[in-house]
C-alpha cells in the first residue's frame, strides 16, 4: 500500500530524529502546540456557550418589525393607500387597535404630518380573540404573527411628481401568555411615489357653448 506523502515525511523525520526520548510529553513542542490548540478551542467554545446562554434570555424579548414596504404609486390630488406589513416575534402578541379592555394599550400608528401629502385614515386589521391561562373568561383582542396596516394618503394636486418619504411611529405593547413587556415604539418610515394624473379633462363638443 502506498503511504500518503505526509505520513511518509513524518516517518522519515522520526527516523532522522532517532529513538524517542523518555522526556515527559508535556514538554515537547508538538505537545505544547496540541494543548494550546485544545485550550484555545475550549476557550472559544466557552465564550460562544456563555454568549448563547446570555442571549437565550435576551432573544426572548418581543419586538415588532416592519417589512420593506412596497412603494405605492399614487396620482396627485387623489387618495391612495400604502400597505405596511409588520411582523411580531413568535410566541408573543400585541394588543389590537381595539383591545377588549379599556386599560390595555392599543397598537396605534401615529404619522408625522408631512407638508405635501395629507395622511388620512389609518386602517387596522381586526384582531383575534385569545384567552390566557388562569382566566378563560377574559378575552383579549390581539395581533400575533403578521399583520398589515393601511395608511390613506393624498398628495396635494400641486405636488411635483416623485418619491416622498413619510415618517411615523407604531406604538405597541407586547405580552406572552404569562407576562407583559413595557410599551415600545417602532419607527415607521416608508415612501410613496406621486404620479402625474393620466386623466385629461375632455370637452364634450355637444356641450360646448362655442358650437352652434
Amino acid at each position: 500500500m502506498i503511504k500518503p506523502l505526509v505520513e511518509k515525511q513524518r516517518t522519515e523525520k522520526a527516523l532522522a530524529k532517532g529513538p524517542e526520548t523518555s522526556a515527559p510529553m508535556f514538554f515537547t513542542a508538538a505537545s505544547f502546540r496540541f494543548f494550546a490548540i485544545v485550550i484555545t478551542f475550549g476557550i472559544l467554545l466557552l465564550g460562544g456557550a456563555m454568549s448563547y446562554a446570555q442571549e437565550g434570555f435576551g432573544s426572548k424579548v418581543p419586538s415588532v418589525t416592519l417589512s420593506a414596504p412596497v412603494i405605492p404609486s399614487i396620482v396627485r390630488g387623489t387618495p391612495g393607500k400604502a400597505e405596511l406589513h409588520f411582523h411580531i416575534t413568535p410566541g408573543f402578541h400585541i394588543n389590537s387597535n381595539a383591545p377588549s379592555e379599556e386599560y390595555l394599550i392599543p397598537t396605534a400608528l401615529r404619522m408625522d404630518a408631512p407638508t405635501d401629502i395629507v395622511v388620512g385614515r389609518i386602517i387596522y386589521p381586526t384582531g383575534q380573540n385569545i384567552t390566557l391561562p388562569f382566566a378563560p373568561d377574559l378575552k383579549l383582542n390581539v395581533y400575533s404573527g403578521e399583520f398589515s396596516v393601511l395608511v390613506t394618503v393624498r398628495p396635494l394636486s400641486s405636488v411635483l411628481p416623485g418619491k416622498y418619504a413619510l415618517r411615523g411611529r407604531l406604538k405597541y405593547q407586547a405580552c406572552d401568555k404569562a407576562a407583559c413587556y413595557p410599551p415600545k415604539e417602532l419607527p415607521v418610515d416608508f415612501e410613496v411615489k406621486v404620479a402625474k394624473s393620466t386623466h385629461h379633462v375632455r370637452h364634450d363638443p355637444a356641450q360646448s357653448p362655442h358650437i352652434h
Binding site: L45, L46, A49, A53, F57, L132, F134, C180, Y181, P182
Partner: protein, 184 residues
C-alpha cells in the same frame, strides 16, 4: 506525536464541565443577577396614590409580597384579585402586599383602576430606580416574597397559579423575624 488518551479525556471532561457551569451560571445571571434569593431585599421609599410616603423597612417583622405590576398588564390584572383574596386571608398573620405600579400614567388613573379592582393593600407609584435595585424588571408581573427578617425567600416573573403564590406567602409567614438569619 503520541497523545496520551487519558490526558485527552481529562481535557475533554474539564472543558465540558467548564461549559456546563458557564452556561448554567450565565442563565442564572441573565435574570436579575444582582438580587439573588436569600439576600436582604433592598429598601425603598415610594409614594402611595394618596401622597403618603412608604418604605419597605416600615414593614420589617411582617411577611411582605412586593408586587411589580401595571394597569396595561393583562396577567397582572388576572393576578390582582387573587392578591386581594390572599391579603384578606393572611393579613391577620402579618402579611402585607406592596403593589408597585410601573405605569407611566396619571396616578389618578392608577387609583381608579385599583379601586375598580377593589385593591385593599397599598399601591405605590413605582420608579425605575426601585426596579433597578431589584435587578431590573424586564416584564410584569414581578413578585418578590420577603420574609419577616427582610430576606428575599422567593421571586418570580410572569403569572403563576394562585396556589403557588399562596404557597410562597405561607413560606414567608413561617419565617422568623430575627434578622440575624438573613444574608447580606
Amino acid at each position: 506525536m503520541k497523545r496520551n488518551p487519558i490526558v485527552l479525556v481529562v481535557v475533554a471532561v474539564a472543558i465540558s464541565a467548564m461549559l456546563f457551569f458557564a452556561v448554567r451560571r450565565a442563565r442564572h445571571t441573565g435574570e436579575n443577577a444582582p438580587l439573588a434569593v436569600g439576600k436582604l431585599a433592598p429598601d425603598f421609599t415610594l409614594k402611595t396614590l394618596d401622597g403618603k410616603t412608604v418604605s419597605l423597612s416600615d414593614y420589617r417583622g411582617k411577611a411582605v409580597l412586593v408586587n411589580f405590576w401595571a394597569t396595561w398588564c393583562g396577567p397582572c390584572n388576572i393576578e390582582m384579585p387573587w392578591l386581594v383574596d390572599l391579603h384578606k386571608k393572611y393579613a391577620a398573620q402579618g402579611f402585607e402586599i406592596l403593589g408597585v405600579s410601573m405605569d407611566d400614567v396619571d396616578p389618578k388613573d392608577i387609583a381608579k383602576f385599583a379601586q375598580d379592582k377593589k385593591v385593599d393593600y397599598p399601591i405605590l407609584i413605582g420608579q425605575d430606580s426601585v426596579g433597578d435595585a431589584y435587578g431590573g424588571i424586564p416584564f410584569l408581573p414581578g413578585n418578590f416574597y420577603i420574609d419577616r427578617s427582610g430576606k428575599i425567600v422567593d421571586k418570580g416573573f410572569g403569572l403563576i397559579g394562585k396556589p403557588e403564590i399562596e404557597e410562597n406567602i405561607q413560606k414567608i409567614l413561617a419565617s422568623s423575624p430575627n434578622p440575624q438569619n438573613a444574608g447580606n
